[in-house]
Symmetry: C2
Subunit: 420 residues, 2 copies
């Protein structure tokens, strides 16, 4: 997607809160940006607030009220990134480079007016390109934008990733590099499975499944954005020179691997309702009531009806369990359903891989592996490139390690080739 006719490569580098957590780290970021520039690239930085700063600002707001005006809260929290861009620009200048900072309203990152979780609608990259052409490193505030009326908006947690990708798309950059405190995307959490391996490449689709399943490396919206605009996205460490992981379009070699990664999510709780009457509109009634209370339901499993009744199981975020239980109790009574049981001690383990499309028996292989380890599966859900199982939480690590080995992801293991 590189812009035709441009001689130098244009790179957007995004540094998160940990990477700009203090002055010394900002100086490190400045040095990296200058090194990239000296290597022959035009460089645009996107930076987050210093780590802890957004929480400090939110705490001030919460000292006044737990339910602030979101417009005014955005005014307050947007300052975190503003401080960062000024300081990083000064750090670059102090190392002999040229730099200009940009706030959301200065490079026209225009969003809708949904304060605290605004969506980017348009970016005018011309002011950024003007200074870049003059040899400056542009330092852009992540996470913030401005609506059509000039109000300050913010993009929600992790929004700086989205800013970086959106700017890369608007400038037709050659690459977008997301610097973080890990050196890439791993096959699974190395704290859970020490044999976890860093991936050299992963497809957008796989990354989306992994991001939404709790791998905290990249903000999910930024991956969607990158996929939509075909921005090659690198995940790299700001503390090492490791090449990192490239998130990009799927290619043939990726399908050689049946499973690319394994995700673990411990933040869900299960609710089961026995003997739900099997008639039209019942599911709509239950999930409509949950939706009215803004409770997000993840996995839903319904057994085939037996005698006009069936059991219904679903998962919600642990934080919503009490609220969800209250809703379900009320609706179940109206419907004449049976007992309700809840369980917080669950975990959701998922295997993800574009190779699944061309491989049969992947799900069965997962179930068999869990069974061999004596792990009971409480619910299952699947997509084209993912299989998720809800299991008792005490088996979570064991399940991840067993699947990691089974699908050939362990360090030193030979990649699993296409089944014949």
């Amino acid at each position: 997607m590189a812009s035709a006719g441009r001689k130098r490569k244009l790179i957007v580098q995004k540094y998160g809160g940990t990477s700009v957590g203090d002055i010394a780290r900002m100086q490190n970021v400045a040095g990296r940006a200058l090194a990239a520039q000296k290597a022959g690239n035009d460089v645009v930085l996107v930076v987050s607030a210093m780590s802890g700063e957004t929480n400090r600002l939110l705490k001030l707001v919460n000292e006044i009220t737990p339910r602030p005006s979101e417009r005014e809260q955005d005014v307050v929290v947007a300052t975190g990134e503003q401080v960062s861009v000024g300081l990083v620009a000064i750090a670059i200048q102090t190392q002999g480079g040229k730099a200009t900072s940009f706030l959301g309203h200065q490079c026209r990152i225009v969003t809708d007016s949904t304060f605290s979780k605004a969506r980017i609608q348009q970016i005018d990259g011309s002011r950024i390109l003007d200074v870049v052409k003059q040899g400056h490193i542009a330092v852009v505030a992540g996470f913030q934008g401005v609506d059509e009326h000039g109000n300050i908006t913010t993009l929600g947690r992790g929004g700086s990733d989205t800013t970086a990708v959106a700017i890369a798309a608007a400038l037709e950059a050659d690459a977008c590099e997301i610097y973080t405190d890990v050196d890439g995307v791993y096959t699974t959490d190395p704290n859970v499975a020490p044999a976890a391996r860093k991936l050299d490449r992963i497809s957008y689709e796989e990354m989306l499944e992994l991001a939404s399943l709790g791998a905290k490396v990249l903000q999910i919206r930024s991956v969607e954005f990158a996929m939509k605009y075909r921005v090659p996205l690198w995940v790299k460490s700001s503390f090492s020179d490791d090449p990192g992981t490239l998130v990009c379009e799927e290619d043939a070699t990726m399908e050689d691997l049946v499973v690319s990664g394994i995700a673990l999510d411990r933040n869900e709780a299960r609710i089961s309702i026995r003997d739900v009457p099997d008639r039209p509109g019942v599911a709509a009634k239950i999930f409509g009531a949950l939706d009215d209370k803004a409770i997000v339901v993840d996995l839903i499993v319904q057994n085939p009806p037996l005698g006009g009744k069936s059991d219904l199981t679903f998962t919600v975020g642990k934080a919503d369990l009490t609220k969800a239980h209250d809703v379900v109790k009320k609706v179940s009574k109206e419907l004449g359903a049976g007992d309700i049981s809840t369980d917080q001690d669950i975990a959701k383990v998922s295997i993800v891989g574009v190779g699944m499309r061309n491989h049969s028996g992947v799900a069965a292989r997962m179930f068999r592996t869990l069974s061999t380890e004596g792990i009971n599966i409480m619910a299952i859900s699947t997509s084209e490139i993912r299989v998720s199982c809800v299991i008792p939480s005490k088996y979570a690590e064991l399940a991840v390690r067993a699947l990691h080995t089974e699908f050939g992801l362990d360090q030193g293991a030979k990649k699993t080739k296409k089944a014949k």
Copy 2:
């Protein structure tokens, strides 16, 4: 200067860093603004950064370099006021009011591009008036503006006072109230002279002399602005209901008082050069050389020449003394002048009053008072409404108290009427 045809009064209230120093104080500010609104006024607030915040931000900048780009430093320090306006708006809303915050670029406080000490060129009050008409309290960030290219600028220390007066002028407000941690303008510093009395009224001209002489109540540029646009300016305490001091146009009653206030400045040092050749261009050479080094010279005294030579004495800020001494040594040598002496143990005491214009013998009365106390006068300078004397610093408090009594300013004293 109230706008014709407007039914409700429009009041601009400015709260300094101490007045918004923590959440409880911000809630106090919100309460005061709402009370003013309920009393039948339209209210615009201008707020500073929370006390200590600007210094915290400057410290971050200085951790990188003592000589930062002023554009980028302004980006960083402007966040202090941004945090304040969001929080104060939320505090007003939490108390049941309506509020909208404005940053410099949102209400178009357009300045020149002199970063860190920009001057306001223009304010578009229409967006502020729009929300005020809808019953909102507008909460405007002090100290900051935006230049014609959209760069963030700041107005220099104390700039929030200037913002408040400029907005009051642009909106043709009925009054501009500057809230601070003292309850008005005093005849002199009460810490020096316990008999100091709060003034009910003082003219712009007198306030200007007092501000420039070290009375730290109001920023000097804000007083100039108020005088130029005839904005009635109140100095009030944010911690009491005292009516405060009105800074306004001079009227006849003010002239009844010979002296309105006494200022003390301990931040200057004296340099004297003996036997300076009395020929054209000598003064230009000395003060030109000081100006080249950006050293501000305050008071200058030259004795009448005797035998083709004269003694020259002047004062500079204490911080500049070493630098000034070096410059003077070099230039004196070139000119063939005599010994140079310096003295840091000096103080400048000034009496200020518009009444002086119509009274003779005021300066003589000052000199006599100091002489009676055994205080030697080292240099003198005067303006139409001011007489300043440089004296040994150890006599500073004594001089202030003696002059305070002599000119009838002590609490309970009868005002000195016009001399016949």
